[in-house]
Symmetry: C2
Subunit: 147 residues, 2 copies
């Protein structure tokens, strides 16, 4: 079983291999992304690290999230709302999003390759990947609705 520490170790390795310098800011952003399971926005990361890096700029967070995206360490999630969320890439998974509180829950589901093949067949596209999200009410919010 891979734990957080290993994810971080592997991520730093990936950066090193890609010729990207490992700065204290990058280390902290990565650490936060891995430890928090909340798919945070850039601003949330910024605020979370404010006490440790009082001088860090929001732009630095954005810049490094872009760097991480480019080397494949994070995925940018864009839903209808204002800002992007960032997800540390571990294994393939999908998201269930609560329409009330915005919480994002991971789940795995196998075998959607079939859809890609079908799409390729009917459209003539060369498929590279797909994106799937499920929307609904999380148990807490569903419960609140009842009361």
């Amino acid at each position: 079983m891979t734990v957080s520490a290993d994810y971080l170790k592997d991520a730093l390795e990936t950066l090193k291999d890609s010729g990207v310098r490992i700065t204290p800011q990058r280390h902290a952003i990565l650490e936060y992304l891995i430890s928090s399971m909340t798919h945070p926005t850039a601003d949330e990361i910024y605020k979370a690290l404010e006490s440790r890096f009082p001088n860090m700029s929001v732009a630095t967070v954005y810049n490094n999230l872009r760097v991480f995206r480019e080397v494949g360490l994070v995925k940018e999630l864009t839903y209808g709302d204002a800002s992007s969320r960032f997800d540390f890439v571990t294994h393939e998974h999908y998201h269930i999003i609560c329409e009330d509180c915005g919480k994002i829950t991971d789940f795995q589901y196998p075998g959607l390759d079939e859809i890609e093949q079908f799409a390729s067949h009917v459209s003539g596209y060369q498929i590279s990947h797909h994106r799937l999200e499920v929307y609904g009410l999380c148990p807490e919010c569903a419960n609140n609705k009842v009361n």
Copy 2:
């Protein structure tokens, strides 16, 4: 087989039933959404109607797209890029998006209810709907890559 004219007729009916006034601007925006198969942005709609409505404001386009969304006539599509795209709602379908030119092609695929049930089961969420997109290269762009 339902044709464009019928879609428009039904859409106007929906507006009427919802107590939403049918203004010339709304008529034109709807007409454009239905006729163009390009999933346009608000700005594209604005520019397309500029000659017929020289005084129309961009805000009017946004306002009315929101009204249409609220009565269920259009869906707002948010991808990674800058601006939302708007899709007139006819039958359920999915999108294949070209990663090169941004073209959006519709396709239909049955029976993804199973995923919703699975997601509900593992997460405890009350599922309302899902969203799926497939990404790749359209035939034209794939061809250009070769040359």
